[in-house]
């Protein structure tokens, strides 16, 4: 403090200009701008001195410089307006970024990288999730960096702006159909189907013929069936309640979306545990879904029954895996629909009343 106060107070102006120079773009105008700013500051000091009748001290000059603004701020105002991606290109950039990150990168990691990692970690789910999230994170950074770089180059070369000048109105996409409320007939059919399904589920324990058909003569339901029977019944009841509420409260436009998403999530968890449970063997035998009925171990056709049971078990396991993948895709689509609905509602609520009335 003492060293700077002993210097010429005007030196502070030069130090200030030096700091502004650091932040100004190195163009031919840099020196010109600095000279003009310096001249303005010196004129201010001169004016103040003649008003006070004595030379200004360091504190007075500091006050003038403070009023002028921080060097970085002043340089940003004096310099040309610059941006990495300008307002013309930014909506396209945002769209591409969303498409690549949400609709390409995330599904690739969930459906390809995740399962591949799971295989390489010998089924360790915790490690798989951590490794996949880590890879997704770094992948997202790299993808975002590359997209930003490409758009920064396009901004510099004005490539998109030039393309935009040659647009053709006939190339505009067709009008989108207005969003329809959930169809009454569709929901009714879904409700009827689920009620029928619930009745069927409740009858199956006492009438295995309903699920196994003629094979009920030599096959019986396996351990998984008993373990997951109650959760499956409860889930079906929940679906029926959801559909009934959707029918009764058709004005709740968001309800079908988030309740369906919850239903998908619950089904996904259930199917996941069923697949996991199907991996276990009991006393060296693998009969998770169906097993050979009691009292047939000495039957002449025992070997044939064993083969049929194995085929049914493998077929059911493949069906469950396919269901799991389908639920993942369905869940992603439902999540997207829900986010779209929320965003649309938010934008409508933020619009002035005059626009909403249109």
């Amino acid at each position: 403090m003492s060293t700077s106060s002993s210097r010429n107070p005007l030196e502070l102006v030069d130090r200030y200009l030096q700091a502004v120079r650091f932040w100004l773009p190195k163009t031919g105008r840099q020196e010109d701008l600095l000279a003009e700013l310096g001249e303005d500051l010196r004129s201010q000091i001169e004016d103040k001195e003649s008003e006070l009748g004595h030379a200004l001290g360091q504190d007075d000059i500091s006050e003038i410089l403070k009023r002028c603004g921080a060097p970085m701020l002043v340089a940003s105002r004096l310099g040309p307006r610059r941006h990495l991606i300008g307002p013309t290109l930014f909506p396209v950039y945002e769209f591409v970024l969303k498409m690549v990150l949400l609709w390409i990168l995330v599904p690739v990691f969930i459906f390809i990288v995740g399962p591949a990692t799971l295989a390489s970690t010998n089924g360790d789910w915790g490690k798989t999730v951590l490794v996949t999230i880590g890879n997704l994170w770094s992948g997202a950074f790299v993808a975002a960096g590359i997209i930003t770089l490409v758009f920064a180059i396009l901004e510099r070369t004005h490539a998109i702006a030039d393309m935009a000048c040659t647009w053709d109105p006939s190339s505009l996409p067709p009008l989108q159909k207005p969003e329809r409320k959930t169809s009454f007939v569709h929901t009714m059919c879904e409700l009827a189907f689920n009620v029928f399904g619930l009745v069927w589920l409740l009858l199956v324990p006492n009438h295995p013929f309903l699920i196994l058909g003629p094979a009920a003569a030599f096959l019986k339901l396996g351990t998984i069936w008993h373990t997951f029977y109650v959760p499956v019944v409860l889930l079906t009841v929940a679906v029926i309640v959801r559909l009934a509420v959707t029918l009764a409260r058709s004005q709740w436009t968001a309800f079908p979306l988030w309740s369906q998403l919850l239903q998908t999530a619950a089904s996904l968890i259930l199917v996941h545990y069923m697949i996991q449970a199907a991996g276990y063997t009991v006393h060296g035998d693998w009969h998770p879904f169906v097993t050979i009925a009691d009292g047939l171990s000495r039957s002449e056709q025992y070997v044939r029954f064993t083969k049929i049971a194995a085929i049914v078990n493998v077929a059911l396991l493949i069906s469950l895996v396919c269901t799991w993948v389908g639920l993942c895709i369905g869940g992603a689509v439902q999540l997207w629909e829900l986010l779209k609905h929320i965003r649309k509602n938010r934008s409508v609520s933020q619009q002035p009343a005059s626009v909403q009335l249109r």
């Binding site: 105008r29 010109d32 701008l33 000279a35 003009e36 700013l37 001249e39 303005d40 010196r42 004129s43 201010q44 004016d47 002028c68 603004g69 701020l73 002043v74 940003s76 105002r77 004096l78």
Partner: protein, 116 residues
């Protein structure tokens, strides 16, 4: 300050800035019918109630000069180099047109405000 009043202040400041932008250009061009350098121009505007900071004025002067409305030259005055600006012949012509437009807008606005 609550979020609502902060948002209202922000909206007001943005609208004020928009309103000032065009007026500042007109004021600067009018003041530069007489030759001035940056600081005296700022002072003249401030004396008439239109404060303008360095970061706004100098880029504006550069832009107007690049559009051919102003001419400038560095000259020594009081043992210091100063950049003097004045209207170019093109600038004088444009200023006349702008003042005509300003009068027209002003008349319309007065009429609208009286009716309201």
């Amino acid at each position: 300050m609550s979020y609502g009043s902060q948002a209202r202040t922000e909206v007001f400041e943005n609208l004020k800035l928009e309103l000032r932008r065009g007026c500042l250009t007109l004021a600067v061009l009018t003041q530069l019918r007489t030759e001035r350098y940056g600081y005296t121009l700022r002072k003249a505007l401030s004396d008439d109630g239109l404060e303008i900071d360095e970061g706004t004025l100098y880029p504006l002067l550069r832009r107007l000069e690049s559009q051919g409305l102003l001419v400038s030259q560095w000259r020594e005055e009081d043992k210091r180099n100063k950049r003097f600006y004045r209207l170019s012949p093109v600038g004088e012509h444009i200023l006349e047109q702008l003042l005509g437009e300003w009068q027209r807008i002003n008349t319309s606005l007065s009429k609208i405000l009286q009716e309201a």
